[in-house]
Structures are given as structure tokens and as C-alpha cells.
């Protein structure tokens, strides 16, 4: 960037692209705070005291079960993150620390799930969930999402566990700690940063997923927020206030989380996929 002219050109292009990326999002959020007339009359104007209105939000939070859909999403995502991290870290520990007969084979077996999308097994997943009597439950979602996210989480956590100095574990063994204590009291606290990374990028796709909520928990009040919003939008398609507010209701929390966690997320994306 020696010449100022090319620096300006690069900034110009980046600013234009950033505007293109943000424009639709800002447009929706901005108009969700306006009265119907202003939405159509001056869509590009910011809400002013005379055009400001929360009527759409009243509808979203009044007429529907959006709040309980949020709780469903939080439960499903939280449960998935918990089990993915716990079982993933346990398996990663065993695969890196203990050399047993089927180690390599098991690692390969688990690696299949990194590349092959679990969605392709949906027909049998539904049959299984029906058989287990778990249809329209969040348990079904947590189980499937955990299975979906375990392979990559094991893969990433293994790399971090392998970097823990051997002395630390050996010291624990010399002090007479059991293998279980070594894992839970020495290893687990040490891989917390890696677990944060895995948690953040498990969270986003699970929160945003439409497919499995649609298949496994489409009715009965156990809809996730993504599916709930989709169904809500289908019902209120002509009520622009309600549609724009419903969209904003779904966008804003994710944006806040994203801004808070963006560093972990981008680190996670790169460490997960490039290696």
C-alpha cells in the first residue's frame, strides 16, 4: 500500500462491499421500527418520532409463542454444546492419550462424519426418532446435533490435547491421581480455550438450522426460533410490520452474539477447516 491512490481504491471497494453486505440487514431492522405507511412511503429513511412504531413487535411477542421458541433454541443449542464438548473432549483424550488396538481405525471411523453430511441419513433418522418416541422433542434435536458435531470437535480438541506437555499428566499420575481425575482436573481446564472455539462454531449452525427442526420437531410447541420464525412469516406474510419485526427479532440476538464472539468464531473456522 505504498501509493495513496491504490490505498483509496482498495478502501473504496471494501467499503462498497461492506455496504452491500450490511444494507439488507440494516434495511430490515430500520423499517421494523416504523409505521406501515412509512415502510412503504420512505423505506430508506431512518425512523423519526412521527414514523416510529412498535406495532410489529407487539404482534410478534403478543400473538405467537416466539418467547418459548427462543427458550427451545437456547435449550437445544445449549444441550448440543454441552454434550458435544463433554463427550468430544473425553473421546479426544482417549484417542490421543491411550494407544489401544483399534485407535487408528476408530479415528478414521469418526473422521467420516467431518465430510459426509448427516442430513443424507434423514430418512432413517426420522424412523429412529419415531421408534424412540422422541418426535417433537428437543432431546431428538440434541442427540442428532451432537452426533453431527462430535467428529469435528473430537478432531480439533485432539490437536489441543496433544499439545499439553506430557509432564503435566505424568506428574498427576505420580501423585496417585486416577486417569479420570487427570482428565477432569488437569486436562479439561487446560483445553478451555479450544472448547470455547468449538462451542462458538457449534452454536451458529445449530441455532440457524431449519432442516432438523422441520423434520423432527415441527409442531407441538417445540419449534426452534428459526423454524418458529419461518412458520410465523408464512402466516403473516402480508403484515409487513409483523414480518419485519419477526426478522429483526431473529437477527438482533445473533448479531450481538456474533460481535461478542467474532474472534473465537473466526479462529474456530480457520483451525477447523484448514488443517
Amino acid at each position: 500500500m505504498r501509493k495513496p491512490a491504490s490505498a483509496i481504491a482498495v478502501h473504496g471497494i471494501l467499503i462498497l462491499y461492506t455496504a452491500l453486505a450490511l444494507f439488507p440487514i440494516i434495511l430490515v431492522i430500520m423499517n421494523s421500527f416504523k409505521a406501515r405507511k412509512a415502510i412503504f412511503g420512505a423505506p430508506l429513511a431512518l425512523p423519526t418520532p412521527s414514523t416510529f412504531s412498535l406495532i410489529g413487535y407487539d404482534k410478534v411477542f403478543g400473538d405467537s409463542s416466539i418467547v418459548s421458541y427462543y427458550l427451545n433454541s437456547i435449550t437445544a443449542t445449549g444441550g448440543t454444546i454441552f454434550f458435544t464438548l463433554l463427550f468430544g473432549a473425553m473421546a479426544a483424550w482417549a484417542l490421543t492419550e491411550y494407544k489401544f488396538r483399534w485407535n487408528t481405525l476408530l479415528t478414521l471411523f469418526l473422521a467420516v462424519g467431518i465430510m459426509v453430511p448427516i442430513r443424507l441419513g434423514s430418512v432413517a433418522i426420522i424412523q429412529l426418532i419415531v421408534e424412540l418416541n422422541l418426535i417433537n422433542t428437543l432431546t431428538a434435536l440434541i442427540l442428532v446435533y451432537t452426533a453431527q458435531n462430535l467428529p469435528l470437535s473430537i478432531f480439533i480438541l485432539s490437536e489441543f490435547i496433544a499439545q499439553i506437555p506430557k509432564d503435566l499428566r505424568e506428574a498427576g499420575r505420580c501423585d496417585g491421581l486416577s486417569e479420570y481425575s487427570i482428565f477432569f482436573y488437569i486436562v479439561l481446564p487446560l483445553i478451555r480455550p479450544a472448547m470455547a472455539t468449538v462451542a462458538v462454531f457449534t452454536m451458529i449452525p445449530v441455532w440457524n438450522d431449519l432442516w432438523f427442526p422441520l423434520l423432527l420437531a415441527p409442531t407441538g410447541g417445540k419449534q426452534t426460533i428459526t423454524l418458529g420464525i419461518q412458520q410465523f412469516l408464512g402466516q403473516y406474510i402480508t403484515d409487513w410490520n409483523a414480518v419485519l419485526s419477526a426478522l429483526s427479532t431473529a437477527i438482533i440476538p445473533v448479531l450481538i452474539l456474533y460481535v461478542v464472539f467474532s474472534r473465537q468464531l473466526i479462529r474456530g473456522l480457520t483451525s477447523g477447516a484448514v488443517k
Binding site: 423505506p43 462430535l150 423454524l227 484448514v274
Partner: protein
């Protein structure tokens, strides 16, 4: 295998065989069971299902590869299948030709030395990628809607108002419009992956190139681009897998019937329609599984191509 067994002794001194097995079961059991039951078993069972055919009395009989023959040759099945496959290829092609080059260009600009506000640009451009496809789909539906008129207003501002058309509603433009919306949303992924790869290139290489008289652009083309070839390969295979597995955006924007006269139908929506049924047909477990198995094969072929053609060749470039 033999030395692996010997290694087992080293790992745990003074632990009995039984308690060592217990230890492995405790640590590996939950992950392996959940993964096997809810991921590997369903995949295998789906392939297995595709070999059976439902009889009028509700029983399933073994049909060998008959379902595949029906899918590929019987016109009631093959016409929608090839239509979805062709559309999916276009969907993928548009991502390869638009999304990945834009991602590459953005990454190249972001990785320029001494660029200010780098992190801000990166965070903001990546933002749409974070949002649910459902949200993105509806948002663009509103923006492109002739009712709201936002896009017409924009075109008018440039004197291009006559170009406006209900792009999502027209058979000839629905697929390309949906594809471009998907590109808009996911351009962040190639951008971030390529950006990270570019940052990993040692500074000295670029310094050496610029000392030799190359400008930033030439240094990018002749020095950096060959070095990030493996990442571009990875981005391509990820795009392939995601595209041939896509569903959410088309379903959110166009419903299960995928647009005017199936013009935006892809493998994912065809699979959903076939398995669950819709206004036009009853749900069919066997044919649904057959389509899922075809998707599995297509994705497998893509991954194999990557592993054999690109992964192998990239050894030469690694440093």
C-alpha cells in the same frame, strides 16, 4: 497393531486389563455410541432402504438397484431428478464463478500489508454468513418484492428502472436469483479461509518478490496464489458439499415446490418432496432414500476428486 498393544502397557502403569477396558469404554463410549446411532447407522440404513420397494399392501420387498433404474430412466422420476441435478450443477457453478472469486478478491485486499480497519471490514463482511438462511431468504424476498419497490428504486437511481422484473417469480431467473442470494450470504466463508491462508505466507517471500520489482498485484498472482492453491481446493470441495446438500434457502424462499414450475428445484428440495410428499404426490420412503443415496454418491465423488486430484498434487507446494 503389535506395537500399539505394547504401547498400551506403557500408558497406564499398574492398571489391570479390565479396568483399562473400563477406562476406554468410559471415555469413548458416549461419543462413539451417539455418533454411530445417530449418524453412521442412519446413513447406512438410508442406503439399505434404497434397495427396497414398497408394495401396494404396505410391505417392503427387496428390489436390488431397481429404484435407481426407476429414478434414472422412468420419466415420471427421471425428469424431476435430472432437472434437480442440472439446477444443482448451475447452483454450484454460480458459487464457483461468483462466490469464490469475490471471496478471493476480498481476502487478497484484506491481507494487504498496512491496511487499516482490516478487522472491522472482516467482521462486517462476514456478518450475513452468521444469520439463518431463513432470515436471509425472507429479507431478500422483501427487497426484491415489487410491492415494496426497493430494488426498483435503486435501479431507477441509476436510470436502469426498466431492467426491473420479479426475478424470483420468473421461471427463467428464479434459480440464478436464489443462487446469487446464497452467494451474497456465504461469500464470507471463502474469504475467511483464503484470508487465513494468505496471512500464513511468510512476509520475506513477498518482500523478496517486491524487491525483484513485482508490484503488490503481480506478487499476489505469481507468489501468493500458487501458495494458497491447497486452500482454494479446500474451498471448492466445501462449496461442492454444501451446494449439493443445500435445502434451507430454496425451501424458505420458494417452498418445497421450488419455484415456478420447479425452476429452482435442487437435490435437497427434491429429496424433501419425495420423502414427505406434497400437494402433488404421496411421501415415498424408498424413493426418498434412493435420492438421498444418489446425493451421497455425488458428494462422495466430489470428495474423492478433491482427495485424489488436489490433495495429492498439493504436496509439491507445501512449505
Amino acid at each position: 497393531m503389535a506395537d500399539a498393544k505394547a504401547g498400551a502397557g506403557n500408558a497406564i502403569v499398574g492398571m489391570g486389563r479390565g479396568s483399562y477396558a473400563m477406562l476406554l469404554v468410559f471415555f469413548l463410549g458416549p461419543a462413539v455410541v451417539i455418533y454411530t446411532v445417530f449418524s453412521i447407522y442412519p446413513l447406512l440404513a438410508t442406503i439399505f432402504n434404497s434397495l427396497y420397494l414398497r408394495q401396494p399392501d404396505g410391505a417392503y420387498i427387496f428390489n436390488g438397484l431397481g429404484n435407481f433404474q426407476t429414478l434414472l430412466t422412468d420419466t415420471t422420476w427421471s425428469a424431476p431428478f435430472w432437472n434437480a441435478f442440472r439446477n444443482n450443477c448451475y447452483f454450484f457453478l454460480i458459487h464457483m464463478l461468483v462466490q469464490n472469486p469475490i471471496g478471493l478478491a476480498l481476502a487478497a485486499m484484506l491481507s494487504l500489508p498496512r491496511l487499516r480497519f482490516r478487522a472491522t471490514y472482516r467482521t462486517l463482511i462476514f456478518m450475513p454468513t452468521m444469520l439463518s438462511v431463513v432470515i436471509i431468504g425472507f429479507t431478500w424476498q422483501l427487497i426484491l418484492s415489487p410491492l415494496w419497490g426497493i430494488s426498483k428504486m435503486f435501479l431507477n437511481a441509476f436510470g436502469l428502472g426498466f431492467l426491473f422484473a420479479p426475478w424470483l417469480g420468473q421461471e427463467s431467473t428464479a434459480l440464478i436469483t436464489v443462487s446469487l442470494i446464497s452467494v451474497w450470504q456465504f461469500v464470507g466463508i471463502p474469504m475467511i479461509l483464503i484470508y487465513t491462508a494468505l496471512l500464513a505466507i511468510p512476509e520475506e517471500l513477498i518482500d523478496a518478490a517486491t524487491v525483484d520489482g513485482l508490484n503488490q498485484f503481480q506478487a499476489f498472482i505469481w507468489v501468493k496464489l500458487p501458495l494458497i492453491f491447497p486452500t482454494i481446493g479446500l474451498v471448492s470441495v466445501l462449496t461442492f458439499v454444501n451446494n449439493f446438500n443445500a435445502f434451507d434457502l430454496i425451501y424458505a424462499m420458494k417452498g418445497a415446490l421450488a419455484g415456478p414450475n420447479f425452476s429452482a428445484d435442487i437435490m435437497g428440495t427434491l429429496f424433501y418432496r419425495t420423502f414427505f410428499g406434497n400437494q402433488l404426490q404421496l411421501g415415498d420412503l424408498s424413493m426418498g432414500s434412493t435420492i438421498a443415496t444418489m446425493m451421497f454418491l455425488i458428494i462422495l465423488i466430489g470428495i474423492m476428486c478433491y482427495l485424489f486430484l488436489i490433495q495429492r498434487r498439493m504436496q509439491r507446494y507445501s512449505f
